[in-house]
């Protein structure tokens, strides 16, 4: 900003700040709305006019994790008294939990899908980042015939539309029995994230002065030792940022999961909307599932904020 500002400029500046603040608030309304819906009593979720003030409750989350049926008649007051608070909530809605022979509450499919998402995202992130870091180091420090072409080839695999890859992959997976398995999705997500991880890591590794390794080589380290003991610790921040990006991509992925899984290895993204079709839509439970699903992404975005620009441009632009 110029040192001397005219009164007009100051007024313009104030106006701009006001617009930004208002726009930010408006912009965040959808996120606020889905979050608040998760904590609303069901009757208040779909009111006209929309309910803004309400007493938040956790019923939607209890419903999200359990299987329930409509009850015929009233619950026995003695049973009600003995039940824990979360079961009382359900009784109060005129429903009861479905229990197995031992009296254990049967869980809904949600925790299972959430767990699938977690396993698949973590495993594929680990593989993609490990392979990507090595490959990026290779490209960063050594000369390779046709280097730019290889890098373009690697990047172009990332740009393939998932549906295009999924059709032949589905046919191949069917032959080898990988349809609807964790391993099948882990392989797909690793391949999908690998190119990203190579490009991003190459950017980070290029920034580490090669003099560090050369000093280590002179001191009697082998190239391998220099890589593991000198370069990797230096690249820790970059590796962490790359891992978070890969995790978020795998965590959010929908198209592959929709086409390659249906039950056993299904992840949360295809599962959450599938609840919409079944019977009367309970938006509070869907919102609860969505909020839980978004929570890790929100936390990671906050941690990543310094590296977002680099991540979204495949490491090309640094700040």
């Amino acid at each position: 900003m110029a040192a001397v500002q005219s009164a007009r400029q100051k007024a313009l500046n104030r106006a701009a700040i006001a617009v930004v603040l208002v726009a930010t608030v408006v912009y965040l309304v959808p996120i606020y709305w889905i979050t608040s819906t998760a904590f609303k009593p069901r009757a208040l979720a779909t009111t006209v006019p929309p309910t803004v003030l309400f007493k938040p409750e956790s019923t939607a989350f209890i419903k999200l994790f359990t299987k329930r049926v409509q009850m015929i008649g009233e619950v026995d007051p003695q049973v009600y008294e003995k039940a824990p608070w979360w079961e009382q909530r359900i009784y109060a809605l005129g429903e009861r939990f479905i229990k197995d022979a031992n009296g254990n509450i049967e869980l809904s499919a949600y925790p299972n899908r959430f767990f699938n998402s977690l396993v698949i995202a973590v495993a594929s992130t680990f593989l993609a980042v490990a392979m990507g870091t090595l490959t990026a180091y290779g490209f960063s420090r050594f000369r390779m015939p046709g280097e730019q072409d290889w890098l373009f080839f690697i990047l172009s695999t990332r740009m393939l539309p998932p549906v295009v890859v999924a059709i032949p992959m589905f046919l191949m997976y069917r032959v080898v029995g990988l349809v609807d398995t964790h391993v099948g999705l882990i392989i797909l997500y690793t391949a999908f994230n690998l190119s990203f991880s190579v490009w991003l890591m190459k950017g980070f590794l290029d920034e580490i002065p090669k003099e560090y390794e050369e000093a280590a080589l002179v001191d009697g380290y082998t190239r391998m030792e220099a890589f593991f003991k000198i370069v990797l610790p230096q690249a820790a921040t970059g590796i962490a940022a790359t891992a978070v990006f890969c995790f978020i991509t795998a965590w959010n992925e929908y198209a592959f999961a929709l086409m390659m899984t249906n039950r056993r290895a299904q992840t949360a993204p295809p599962f959450i909307p599938s609840q919409l079709g079944s019977g009367i839509t309970d938006w509070t439970a869907i919102a609860a599932g969505t909020v839980l699903f978004l929570l890790p992404v929100a936390i990671f975005t906050f941690l990543l904020r310094k590296h977002l620009l680099r991540g979204v441009t495949f490491g090309a632009i640094r700040k």
Binding site: M1, A2, A16, V20, T24, L28, P30, I31, W33, I34, T37, T46, V48, P49, P50, M131, T135, R141, F142, W150, F153, I154, L155, S156, M159, L160, P162, V163, I167, P168, L171, M172, R174, A191, L194, V198, K210, E214, V218, R223, E225, F227, N252, Y254, A255, M259, P269, I272, P273, L276, W283, I286, A287, F293, L294, V297, L309, V312, A316, I317
Partner: protein, 297 residues
């Protein structure tokens, strides 16, 4: 970036040679990508010349270019492409306007700027499915807050064939404008302040300063944002698939999915996949060229 040591030095003779380390590090990745990305594509190129249907056990017959010919003569497919083009124009256009505008506003000293930027970036990190889902809640005709805020009673955004595509594009704009904003902001903050000071001394008009200093210096990054978003919008599947089942919102990726996994026209879907693939690779090529150009600066 070459840092190979003098081959005669003692350091270079210990351990694995640089060449073998390079190959050890790079080749597995390339092999992995060939096996899981390129090989399937060759496989599907073969199927694109057959009448194979994955739901039947009937063997595939070679039909030559018949699938491609059928697709090019299919009005529905042309409609899918024109819907996709319209969607790309709407959503990328909206994102550029919003993203650039907000970046101009944010490019000054603002309280809580870091926090505001992070909050604005949140939606683009979210799953498209989840975003589509909760916008469905917002667009709901009887009690959605969009209709309430705009005083439109019972206006059905997503079931109305004329409006659904716009509604989806608005959601996409909401989600991805911050991406354009982030890149523009990076471009804007890199403009040296002395250029503006010189312009002020010369009493250049605001418009002149904007078109001669701001715009040319932001353009390279803005172009990257535009090409990248064009490519992504062209491939859009999740968002439109979740939000609407209208024919007017059937993007090419959705058509491809239906053809392959609902109608089980495997051979034909492979042919369509190849048409889409060639277009995507063309855009990718342009994108990488720009990326490298900006990187060199």
């Amino acid at each position: 970036m070459l840092s190979t040591l003098d081959p005669g030095s003692p350091a270079a003779r210990r351990g694995l040679s640089d060449i073998s380390i390079r190959n050890l590090f790079i080749l597995p990745t390339i092999a992995f990508l060939i096996v899981f990305n390129i090989f399937p594509l060759i496989y599907s190129l073969g199927y694109s010349f057959t009448d194979f249907r994955a739901s039947f056990n009937a063997p595939a017959h070679f039909v030559g270019l018949q699938n491609y010919r059928d697709l090019l003569h299919d009005e529905h497919v042309w409609n899918n492409f024109s819907v996709t083009a319209k969607y790309v124009l709407l959503s990328v256009g909206g994102q550029v306007l919003m993203g650039f505008g907000v970046a101009m506003l944010l490019n000054r000293r603002i309280p809580f700027k870091g926090l505001i930027t992070t909050l604005l970036l949140l939606p683009m990190m979210m799953s498209m499915v989840v975003v589509g889902l909760f916008w469905e809640l917002l667009y709901s005709p009887s009690w959605g807050i969009v209709d309430y805020a705009l005083h439109l009673e019972d206006f059905d955004w997503l079931s109305n064939p004329n409006v659904a595509l716009y509604a989806i594009a608005i959601t996409d704009i909401w989600m991805w404008s911050p991406f354009v904003m982030l890149l523009c902001l990076a471009g804007l903050s890199a403009i040296p302040q002395h250029l503006y000071e010189a312009a002020a001394i010369d009493r250049a008009s605001r418009w002149y300063t904007f078109t001669r200093i701001t715009l040319p210096l932001v353009t390279p990054l803005l172009l990257i944002a535009i090409i990248f978003r064009t490519m992504e919008a062209f491939k859009t599947f999740d968002l439109a698939f979740i939000m609407s089942t209208q024919e007017t919102t059937e993007l090419i990726a959705i058509k491809l999915y239906r053809l392959a996994f609902q109608e089980w026209q495997t051979g034909q879907s492979c042919a369509l996949a190849y048409m889409v693939l060639i277009m995507v690779l063309a855009i990718t090529n342009i994108y990488v060229k720009y990326l490298n150009r900006v990187k060199e600066r």
